[in-house]
Point group: D2
Chain length 289, copies 4
């Protein structure tokens, strides 16, 4: 409906909540949900704490575009308190690009959740390095672009991917078991958040073939981790992770099968949190409200 979400991070100090809530109250915004976090409240005096806040509110008496509201907030609150902040409107859904290869489970799960109304996103395009999932994409009415990637053409292929996404006005990208490592160039050129799903409970089993590695090590649980992509492989800020128990009866093949269910659940949880502005990055960690 007619709601907006404000996220804030800033150096912690007394009076932030008072300042923000007064401002919203004065502008006729009714708070629906509010969450806050101080990284180290006991270090507040010494300046060692960072403050995070997420407020979801009704745009009651507000001008709907929000421009004047945003300008006033910048001037009266965010500037004086040295805030990083972001304001988004439910009426303007985020635009999500999906990058896929051949596995369908995470891909279909996200498409189905969007269809169900669980994810307030638009999906202007799907990009793949293979043809396999074209029919699924098209069944959901989505443009499907194949950009083959080889060792030789990788820089050119990545440039093409970034061009497609920027032309489509994409706000963030999701690697739904996309089987290529993105280069630093890609990340810089794209310049927006990229969410990945890794099929292990990181930091265990970084890199290729984590289910095989889990089988070899004889662990009693396997997992999945969704994180923002950085230049360090599988080392970006973790958004969500989960595990399932396994036993000596499991084979590498059954781990793959069981793992699919965890992967899609964890990725969906992370994407939903991102879409609803619940994830605030703090260094290499996240605050998830």
């Amino acid at each position: 409906g007619n709601t907006a979400t404000l996220t804030i991070s800033c150096p912690d100090r007394p009076g932030i909540v008072a300042a923000v809530s007064q401002f919203l109250h004065r502008h006729g915004a009714n708070i629906i949900h509010s969450d806050q976090h101080s990284t180290d409240p006991h270090a507040l005096e010494s300046g060692g704490s960072t403050f995070f806040m997420r407020m979801e509110f009704h745009l009651g008496g507000l001008d709907q575009t929000g421009d004047a509201f945003a300008a006033a907030f910048a001037r009266d609150v965010a500037g004086p308190l040295n805030m990083d902040w972001h304001l988004s409107y439910a009426a303007r859904p985020k635009r999500m690009a999906l990058l896929v290869s051949r596995y369908d489970h995470c891909f279909l799960d996200l498409l189905w959740r969007k269809r169900r109304g669980e994810l307030n996103v638009e999906i202007p395009l799907v990009i793949s390095n293979h043809e396999d999932l074209r029919r699924d994409a098209e069944m959901f009415g989505l443009p499907f672009h194949v950009v083959p990637v080889t060792r030789e053409n990788k820089p050119r292929a990545e440039a093409e991917q970034v061009r497609l996404m920027r032309e489509a006005g994409v706000d963030f990208a999701v690697l739904a078991r996309y089987m290529q490592i993105l280069s630093g160039n890609f990340l810089q050129a794209f310049g927006r958040p990229v969410i990945n799903i890794h099929h292990s409970f990181l930091p265990a089993f970084i890199g290729a073939n984590p289910y095989r590695a889990a089988f070899t090590r004889g662990v009693k649980l396997i997992g999945a981790t969704s994180h923002y992509v950085t230049e360090d492989l599988d080392a970006g800020p973790i958004i969500a992770q989960d595990v399932v128990p396994v036993t000596h009866r499991d084979t590498p093949e059954s781990l793959v099968r069981v793992g699919r269910d965890v992967e899609r659940q964890v990725l969906a949880r992370a994407v939903k949190a991102h879409v609803e502005d619940r994830v605030l990055v703090h260094g290499n960690k996240t605050v998830v409200f």
Copy 2:
């Protein structure tokens, strides 16, 4: 340390957060944690929503006893906004009575957690209808009172229990697998919260022998529920519950054994939440921050 916790419930309306946070800021209180909840934010205009809040703060520039602070809060904020509110100080731990019978697992778990510093409580007394756990209580240095309960003497026994607890200045009582049903008279005479642990995932298997009933029904998970005691058996506001998977291999005896681990975890979680003023009752439900 030198912290206090303020809990609030009141009719929802715009400006509550602003009013409370301004008040705290003006009185030099630095907020450490803050949580809030509106039961139905979209019904705010129509008066159909109730607002809950929990704020934990440093008593920075405050007078330590807090009396003046509390009086000012009552006058300036709580009164005008029609609040139910409670203020407690970390330096003044809640006083908890334990009622037990013969099972030791929940009892020992709570005593050990207190010893570990996990529970900020004082335990002025333990009351039992049996002698069995006297040695355990005494090992932890706790006064142990045996009040036998029979069908005939129940009113007198309950009166004695209440007298013991009130003389000891008890703030709340925990039934750590106490195997007697408390009468409405007891609850009224005691007049303070009583927390129970029931060995099923309520509302399934209300009443006696839930593990036997679970075995007979052939469920694939068993659980435990901690709730505030009301006059309706096993029907009070639920604070915490959890389950564990079981299989056809389980016998009524193994369910009892497996269940013990869930019972003690769930009860400990509920007691800790209560002790830290994280549980706000709303009709027959709870808000657990």
Copy 3:
């Protein structure tokens, strides 16, 4: 591949494992997996125990149709030991009918799993009382039959459903959130297993609107239960169940959303277990190997 599964239930007595394993060994069958269960091994002498077994084996030197093998087993082992038994061949997948209404989540989840090779079934038909899911069914190449059900036409509608399923040679039916209660007549006329998914952790919240009831009761977890359908509503033998934690923040609507994920996981687990002959019914309970 070339494997078969033998399931057995019989009065427990010494020597059953020896008899079965000797028979298989003599007929050149190599055991791949074997599970067994005695309901009360300590009551074996008194005849109070029932024995269950599931053996999966390679049809090494066997004649492939298995007719002679089955006849020999009946004569040499099953008859003398008074066994209920069943033999199925991986090369002959079970035929599953899906009954649906308007919810797509359980339905699509089963179709995806079949497509991915997780479920060794054939799906000769889908029956619905609404048109809504026709397009989804047809995208998977499945015949979709609409049989509207009203209070007046219910006996005739059920007769039509049974006729469709029997003509299609269906081995079992799955109610993938089919929103009609099946009559005893239906169950008798169909005469094969019917698997349902109920959206609560039974025996809590039997009947209609369990999420609403869970919200009203204020439980801290919600769940789903898959069971064989009997004439008693939501009271048949439970195959699988699971729960997820919820909080005071959840609304009836969010419970429905969160619940969908549990429902489809639990139903898929139950269907897979049934398809692989892992579920043996024992009175109103199940053994799930």
Copy 4:
């Protein structure tokens, strides 16, 4: 009661179950529980599969000491089939040594479980490098030996620990948060299984301070792993592991607190499995029946 447990591992081949079950049947042993596992049943012909079995049975008509029974089994079955095997009697509980330092949670949890009858063990001694837990040990009537360990005296200290355990006829040792790394010499001289609890979901966070490392990495779950000790730090065969969710609200201190509950549960599960002969080691992995 009057039961025994037989565990077997051997090269997989057809007819093993038949041979073992026939032998038991012939000797009047009634099987109570039976579990088996082939590491790769499809590689049975090529010799690439290993077979594991655990059988629990009543010693009905057997001579109670079991010597003749064991000799016959060795001669008739184990020898011809090239088995590693072990036979243990419920009437002869395993003797467990506990090694502790200063943390009490795993230690007390095991003592409570033994007192409650959950663990069929004798505990002839407790060894610590600190005095702290003496009173707890003595309250349970257990001999408490302090063997201080420094960098300089470590070889001598370990020799003393091994001497104490061997004199006490110990069958296996449990490191209940014992904060010293055991040398290869210790393991060889002791020559019996040693079970450790590591406070992370291995292979993540091997070595010291895993909770601090988990905090720094920003994981969304923490865990514990119980494993047999080998000369490679935290790399021995895993018996049990589990995790709990954590959030951005957790501090290194709260991770330690939350972790204690997982540690004691996981260690108790592993010790119980070992005590009941449910754990069979296979290279660096385990089969847990």
